[in-house]
């Protein structure tokens, strides 16, 4: 703790720009008839994804004499899908979300997520809208070439000359070695996903979206727990990510509406948690009931607002665009 830490780490001019961008986002959705909603940050259920850690807390008071565990949401996705099933139509939310264990130049344990859902859209149509919104917000602030769309397979073929859907752990390990990627200890020999993540973060991501919006789509089914699967060979998850200048900015899905399949994926993830010695999370039964009732065909996306501000201001760390990041919180 140093004496100047009471001050914001971002310039006041950046904080003014944040407010301006938020107003532009609200105007963008208002013009399209997309409804702004708010859902609780505290939930009785939590995300099961073993790579996301929820903060937990406890409610005590009327109705809960002995305390009731509650989790801070890592994204407003589940509650927003319940609204969609209830007939809300297209909705968006600007939510403060919380993720334990994540801090660095591009991560802060609490951050602002812009999340929206479009009824009747598939992931490609939603990518069009993401490009439109992001293009508008960055106009005059960052010079960008025409957006491009590449499949997960294409980016691995282009940058590493391998097929991510067919490569074995041995292939991926050999690729890491030839690229001089330091291989962490304890990498699993039976699961290619962490190896794909290693190559992606070290060799591919830094080169994505160079001077333009690059959408990556059609992820391995194992990396798209909330997306529809398309029965290609091999089947791919209808998920996309947006990168600009090597920074991952948004993640979207053509949303899965199948209750049985969703319950199965939650159970798989909780089994993976148990195997890794991580706490098992209470599954969101409200979400499953809503899916059972019927989720309209829709696509949804979550965009890291703070990273967008970072790009708009050409800063290199979140601390420069947050009033008070973790070490000043």
């Amino acid at each position: 703790m140093t004496a100047y830490h009471w001050r914001p780490s971002a310039d006041l001019s950046v904080l003014r720009l944040r407010a301006e961008l938020l107003a532009q986002i609200r105007a963008f959705f208002a013009a399209r008839g997309v409804l702004e909603v708010e859902t609780p940050a505290l939930s009785a259920a939590a995300i099961t994804d073993p790579h996301l850690a929820s903060f937990n807390t406890c409610y005590s008071g009327p109705g809960s004499q002995h305390g009731r565990p509650l989790y801070l949401h890592t994204s407003p996705e589940f509650a927003m899908k319940r609204l969609l099933a209830a007939g809300s139509g297209c909705i968006y939310q600007i939510a403060r979300v919380f993720r334990d264990g994540e801090a660095g130049s591009r991560h802060n344990p609490e951050f602002t997520l812009l999340e929206w859902y479009r009824v009747g859209f598939d992931h490609h149509r939603l990518m069009d809208e993401v490009a439109e919104l992001v293009g508008m917000l960055l106009a005059g602030r960052l010079t960008l070439a025409e957006p491009e769309r590449l499949s997960y397979r294409q980016i691995f073929q282009h940058h590493l000359n391998l097929d991510p859907h067919r490569a074995t752990v041995a292939d991926l390990a050999a690729c890491a070695e030839t690229r001089n990627v330091s291989i962490p200890t304890g990498m699993p020999l039976d699961d290619p996903d962490p190896w794909l993540d290693l190559l992606l973060t070290h060799c591919v991501e830094p080169r994505l979206g160079s001077g333009r919006l690059t959408f990556v789509h059609d992820y391995p089914a194992s990396q798209a727990a909330l997306a529809r699967l398309r029965p290609d060979d091999p089947p791919v998850g209808e998920r996309f990510e947006l990168y600009i200048n090597g920074i991952e900015l948004a993640n979207g899905f053509h949303e899965l509406g199948d209750t049985v399949e969703q319950r199965h994926r939650f159970a798989q993830e909780n089994a993976a948690r148990r195997a890794a010695g991580l706490p098992v999370m209470p599954v969101d039964e409200h979400l499953l009931a809503a899916l059972e009732f019927g989720l309209p065909d829709c696509a949804g996306v979550a965009l890291g607002f703070d990273r967008l501000v970072m790009l708009a201001t050409r800063k290199t760390s979140l601390a420069e665009v947050l009033a008070f990041p973790l070490d000043r919180a």
């Binding site: 264990g101 330091s182 962490p184 200890t185 992606l200 991501e205 990510e241």
Partner: protein, 189 residues
């Protein structure tokens, strides 16, 4: 020695890798949109000075390295080893030529040096930032030249060679910055 989680990594932390002591230079947390998080770490080998990159799965641990910096007084060189002494405990420590390396030419008896010890054994020696030494050999300067422009080589009592202004004469005492190897000023006895 303690073990450190990647959550405790920060620049300057000393850790063991493949049996060698390293200092963390840079620590970066990376995570794909969904999936495994990693710490990409730049580390400097404290024996060789070489900087390499290592990746850890976030949450994994590394063993700490018992590396400390101590202030020791240089005593003498016996032809093969350099001998230092802890001014408080009078304990003596010897270092070889590889360890002393470039510091050797700045070591004058009784100088206080910063010695980096790993498990009590010296890894490196840093001379004082400024040393005061006599010139044992330099060409006679041009009479009347006090501009300091140009300069000429001068050999010091330890064998180090520095560039000095033309007006500085053989036998004079000068102050030198060991970090740059540059002449600072003349020193009056």
């Amino acid at each position: 020695m303690a073990t450190y989680s990647t959550n405790e990594f920060k620049s300057g932390l000393k850790i063991m890798l493949d049996g060698d002591p390293y200092a963390i230079v840079e620590n970066e947390f990376v995570k794909p949109g969904k999936g495994q998080a990693f710490n990409r770490v730049k580390v400097r080998n404290l024996k060789t000075g070489r900087v390499i990159e290592r990746t850890f799965k976030s949450g994994d641990t590394a063993e700490g390295a018992d590396v400390v910096d101590v202030e020791l007084q240089y005593l003498y060189n016996d032809g093969e080893y350099w001998h230092f002494m802890d001014p408080q405990s009078y304990e003596q420590i010897t270092a070889d030529a590889v360890t002393v390396s470039d510091a050797a030419k700045w070591l004058k008896e009784e100088a206080i040096c910063q010695v980096t010890l790993w498990n009590g054994v010296p890894l490196s020696v840093a001379p004082p930032n400024f040393v005061i030494m006599a010139i044992v050999e330099t060409d006679p300067g041009v009479r009347g030249d006090t501009s300091g422009g140009g300069g000429k080589p001068a050999t010091l009592e330890t064998g180090a060679v520095v560039r000095v202004p033309l007006f500085v004469q053989n036998g004079e005492i000068i102050k030198v910055d060991t970090r740059t190897g540059e002449y600072v000023s003349r020193v009056k006895e």
